[in-house]
């Protein structure tokens, strides 16, 4: 037993060395990524913040009306956003929304092609599966540390951590959707003369669309669940007041910020879910 503990395998040290090596070898690259993403997010937040809150609400309502044509949803969204303004969390809500939307957009842009590639190559999915499991099960705080070192404080480490946590959803569901396309549809596509790319765009992706949309919805909800953790590494948004309330044992602030997060979650869920459900039906 002593022998076992005395001869410790330096797993942690190896990882630390690897991160150190990354910092020295590729700091230019990480700085570039960091600055680009940070500027992108701040620009978006500023642009939305420059508008009057009511104008933003109006734009959201028009968009939702075109997607769902549901009066009840419009009433709920209006009430929720007004309550958020009333509680004084408007700017934080914008910041959170921008973070969530950016994380989702990047996850989908990377995840969907990976999912498609994995569906076409079984060996690739065999390699991917344990990596995806690892990314979803490893405690978030663990990779928060290296991302913090590599990208510095601010939105970007929060964004990157969110992507690591959420990207598995679009990959898995795209894989599932594309690999579950009925074989007779593939055969019909081939029999009528599809090329490989036509088969992908005209048969496989449309057939997998309900699953892919479910992946996007899941990705959004997973991203939102990272808001508070992202706040720990300096990402602005609704997570910040929660962290601050925790540090100062401030029940009222914590409760109000929590309510705001829940409202944002319900809104996003309602806005995203129905379109894919409609397609399935």
């Amino acid at each position: 037993m002593n022998w076992l503990t005395d001869n410790k395998i330096p797993l942690g040290a190896w990882m630390e060395n690897f991160v150190d090596w990354l910092v020295t070898a590729a700091s230019g690259f990480f700085d570039l990524v960091s600055i680009t993403l940070e500027t992108m997010i701040i620009t978006m937040v500023d642009a939305i913040d420059a508008l009057h809150p009511f104008a933003v609400i109006a734009i959201i309502l028009v968009g939702v009306w075109f997607l769902h044509r549901s009066l009840g949803l419009l009433v709920f969204i209006t009430a929720a956003l007004l309550l958020i303004i009333n509680m004084g969390y408007w700017v934080e809500t914008i910041q959170t929304l921008v973070l969530v939307v950016s994380a989702t957009a990047i996850s989908v842009l990377i995840g969907v092609p990976i999912g498609i590639a994995a569906a076409h190559r079984p060996w690739l999915y065999t390699i991917l599966r344990p990596i995806l499991d690892l990314m979803q099960t490893i405690p978030t705080f663990v990779y928060l540390i290296p991302t913090l070192i590599l990208f510095g404080l601010g939105y970007v480490p929060g964004l990157i951590s969110t992507i690591i946590f959420a990207i598995a959803a679009p990959i898995r569901l795209t894989y599932l959707g594309v690999s579950k396309v009925p074989s007779e549809l593939i055969e019909a596509g081939l029999a009528f003369g599809c090329t490989k790319s036509k088969l992908l765009y005209k048969v496989e992706l449309p057939a997998a669309m309900p699953n892919i949309m479910a992946g996007v919805t899941q990705c959004i909800m997973l991203s939102l669940s990272m808001v508070v953790i992202a706040a720990l590494v300096g990402a602005d948004g609704l997570g910040k007041p929660v962290v601050r309330a925790l540090n100062t044992v401030n029940i009222s602030q914590g409760f109000e910020a929590g309510i705001a997060i829940v409202l944002v979650a319900i809104m996003l869920d309602r806005i995203c879910k129905s379109p894919s459900a409609k397609k399935e039906g």
Binding site: E184, E187, A188, F192, G193, K198, K202, P206, A207
Partner: protein
């Protein structure tokens, strides 16, 4: 002229071709080979020639390799050995050898397909589904939608153009499948049990529609079916498959009259002979009847007067009987009672039974103006009891 020629085609599923092919040549059965190499023999040494305008039906139970062979003709299944030639303009293209571009050309311009499970794209409208293949041909959007609408009219579904496939009944969906295949204007049409998933009434209706369409369009159709009645109804040629091999290839009537093996005989025993058999295979030959000079005796009171093979008159107990020469346009109900029908020997059994139901005399059959035989009730019962195909084996 041959449009599709299949020569010595073997199809094998599995990765041990190098071992499997020699085993097949040595005469090992399909079950042996699965055990030895793990490969599944789909089709073994198939040979068929399908000419322009023919409907060739591949018949067999599930697992006999009929769909596998069909799918080789448009390259969905890979051919391990042999040639599968499909006409492309003036040349014959070997599907087993051709590259991807050529294969795509064949699929978009020469061979189209109808699927058992319809295989319509659920996210496209009916009209867009019909236009799907045209899009792959590279036809511009407005043009292909116009053409797709024409095809829908042909299967009388133009009212449903903007619906999604899941709003249609099974029969309607398969009509969309037919329209999609016909829209391609290909010479060859592959149909993989297209009507098997439909209920019997709709199935028979679609079979009739297909026969009608075929009269107008004169395609070369290769049709897979596990239903011999269907095969006999629509086929101009039938190839029966068992355990990956074609065991008999013949005209429908020949299959029913001379089944090559017990397996075919079992199929035939359950078919309805009305649709298949013709006068010349049913009749009692003129030579089998008792005759003196120019008289051929039918029964105690009737006899035929024949000179140099030609029918002069039919005589009954009260003298000469009136006769009428039957054609497919004859309205049987308008013919007076007590008239003897004279029909060509190629008359279908169904028509002959219709005549017998109306007239109370035997039917006299002619071929090239020569009297060749008669059809009596005994001949009909013989066929209806399924004894017609047993005749040869009994004699032998």
């Amino acid at each position: 002229m041959a449009v599709v020629t299949i020569e010595n085609v073997d199809i094998v599923f599995g990765d041990n071709l190098a071992q499997t092919l020699p085993l097949m040549d040595k005469g090992h059965t399909r079950d042996d080979i699965i055990g030895m190499t793990g490969d599944v023999v789909g089709v073994q040494n198939a040979n068929i020639e399908v000419n322009e305008g023919e409907i060739c039906v591949l018949m067999g139970l599930s697992g006999s390799g009929k769909s596998t062979l069909l799918r080789a003709i448009n390259g969905l299944n890979k051919i391990a050995r042999g040639r599968c030639l499909v006409r492309d303009g003036d040349t014959m293209v070997d599907i087993a050898e051709c590259d991807e571009t050529k294969l795509r050309h064949m699929r978009t311009h020469r061979v189209s397909m109808v699927f058992q499970s319809f295989a319509l794209m659920p996210w496209l409208t009916v009209l867009e589904n019909v236009a799907f293949g045209l899009e792959m041909q590279g036809m511009p959007k407005t043009e292909r939608l116009i053409k797709a609408r024409e095809q829908l009219k042909m299967v009388s579904l133009d009212q449903w153009a903007d619906k999604k496939p899941d709003e249609l009944s099974g029969g309607m969906r398969q009509r969309v499948g037919l329209a999609r295949a016909f829209a391609m204007d290909t010479d060859v049409l592959l149909m993989d049990e297209p009507f098997s998933a439909l209920d019997p009434l709709i199935r028979s209706q679609l079979q009739d529609e297909l026969i009608e369409l075929q009269k107008r369009l004169n395609k070369t159709i290769i049709f897979v079916s596990h239903d011999l009645d269907e095969a006999l109804k629509i086929g101009t040629k039938i190839a029966i498959m068992e355990s990956a091999k074609i065991i008999q290839e013949d005209a429908p009537e020949q299959i029913v009259l001379n089944p090559a093996t017990e397996y075919v005989e079992k199929f035939v025993a359950h078919t309805n002979p009305l649709n298949v058999l013709r006068g010349n295979s049913l009749m009692t030959h003129i030579k089998e009847l008792a005759s003196t000079d120019d008289k051929v005796v039918i029964d105690d009171s009737t006899w035929l007067e024949i000179k140099e093979g030609k029918l002069i008159s039919v005589q009954g107990a009260q003298g000469e009987l009136p006769v009428v020469r039957w054609t497919s346009d004859t309205v049987i109900e308008d013919v007076a009672e007590n008239t003897v029908f004279i029909a060509p020997s190629s008359i279908a059994m169904r028509d002959a039974v219709e005549i017998r139901y109306h007239s109370n005399h035997v039917i006299v059959l002619e071929k090239n103006e020569q009297c060749v035989g008669i059809l009596t009730d005994h001949n009909f019962y013989h066929a209806l009891l399924g004894k017609h195909f047993g005749r040869d084996t009994e004699a032998a």
